[in-house]
């Protein structure tokens, strides 16, 4: 096999894996969510895909594994191995720009920059941090947090003071 065709095949298999949707936010691909960490071909014609969980308790990991395997098999790769990697831990900074646009387009406010903490003890945050989150429906910056914990591990719940609509916000980690 020539070098060029290997590169082409890798691009093709990457595109298949990258297009699988997240089971909990099925508007985002695993690549846009940043959980797809690596896709590679083995010498024997197999595929090794590496994914990472968003949160420790992410209940969708098994489904992601099954989805990736099914999609790649359908694309002609019988030998598919899906590996988990825990380190470095997932951060919302890995959500792509395209992913952020898709989230906002579907009424879910994308995350701001993840907190950068110095080494040593994690400081307490006794008042809720003032996050600049625009309403994904009307665009107003005048929004308030209802709860840092939402319907999925990744999301907080906010409310727009302008249009009064509640909405989800992917919280920064």
């Amino acid at each position: 096999m020539s070098r060029v065709s290997t590169v082409d095949e890798l691009a093709r298999v990457r595109a298949v894996a990258a297009g699988v949707l997240d089971p909990e936010l099925p508007v985002l691909t695993l690549a846009d969510l940043g959980v797809l960490r690596d896709v590679r071909l083995t010498g024997a014609g197999g595929v090794v895909v590496t994914i990472t969980p968003t949160y420790s308790g992410c209940p969708a990991m098994a489904t992601m594994r099954a989805d990736l395997t099914a999609r790649l098999r359908a694309a002609g790769y019988a030998d598919v191995e899906v590996r988990t990697v825990l380190s470095p831990p997932w951060t919302t900074d890995w959500i792509s720009d395209a992913g952020r646009r898709v989230l906002a387009g579907h009424g879910v406010a994308p995350p701001g920059p993840a907190p950068r903490r110095p080494l040593g003890p994690v400081p307490l945050t006794l008042t809720r941090p003032a996050r600049a989150v625009a309403c994904p429906r009307c665009g107003s910056p005048d929004t308030e947090e209802i709860s840092e914990f939402g319907p999925t591990a990744c999301t907080a719940i906010r409310r727009c003071r302008a249009c009064r609509e509640p909405f989800e916000h992917v919280k920064e980690i």
Binding site: Y55, S56, P59, T84, S87, L124, S147, F149, I173
Partner: protein, 307 residues
Amino acid sequence: MTIDDAYSDAYRALADVHGGDEAHWAFGTGFDDPLAGVDTTLPSTVDGAALAAYCLMLGDDALVLAQRLTEWCTRAPELEDEVALANIGLDLLGQARLLLSRAAQADPSVVPTGGAGVAEDGLAYFREQHEFRNVRLCEQDNGDFAHTVVRLLVFATWRLAALTRLAASVDPVVSAIAAKGVKELTYHRDWAARWVIRLGDSTPEARSRVEAGLAGVWPLVDELFRPSTVESGLAAAGAAVDPAGLRPEFDAVLAEVLGAAALPVPDVPPAALVGGRAGRDGVHTEALSYLLAEMQSVARAHPGATW
């Protein structure tokens, strides 16, 4: 299928990618190893049996408290806080799954038979009470909401201090589990701290409840900082954290939170040990037996069942 189609019907989106494979319909079916594909090589300087015992300690803390927190489902004072408690429980359950799986890799002999070959299930559902290594703080009944948030504040403060340091463990799997957990526990601790302040700085009724919560929880605080021989040995090898060293950070955080609500640090004696032993030695209170009876009953009635 376009993204818009998928969004309007997630069920159909799943059907599309699964190609009619029924096994995918429910989360909870066919749980597989949460460490699948992770490099599980044990560092040569770390004793496998000791690391397994340590992972059971940290994993059981998370498992037992996760079970307690889920008892709030349908019972919390507000929907938002019910969702918060369930989310915190889910994060802890995830940490427990990873840690119990790591324990089984480090020393397969810790896994009882009966889990249908799934190590984490064997450990969660088929160990007896004296084989659990959680601190007694985690098994305490929830009490009221104030008691629950006080216990969570104490637990999350201790665990965040421990996992922050454990992110530098020489065991790469424990290190990775800890680094993920730090991000989660930061949210848990802030949520609990804000509630303790809100209640403590509120009506006399709320304040008296949070004071009662502190009085009920505080006797079990000392136990968090008693190093077991397992922890001391592994800490010397750079794989674990000596809990005695966490006390200054814990005291500083609790002083900041309680000070913000003008709540006094309780002055109550620690709960008695039993022949010098406590939770880390497998010596538990009556509360754990009821908790385990509920948590383990289905798995024991139908060993190896799938659904």
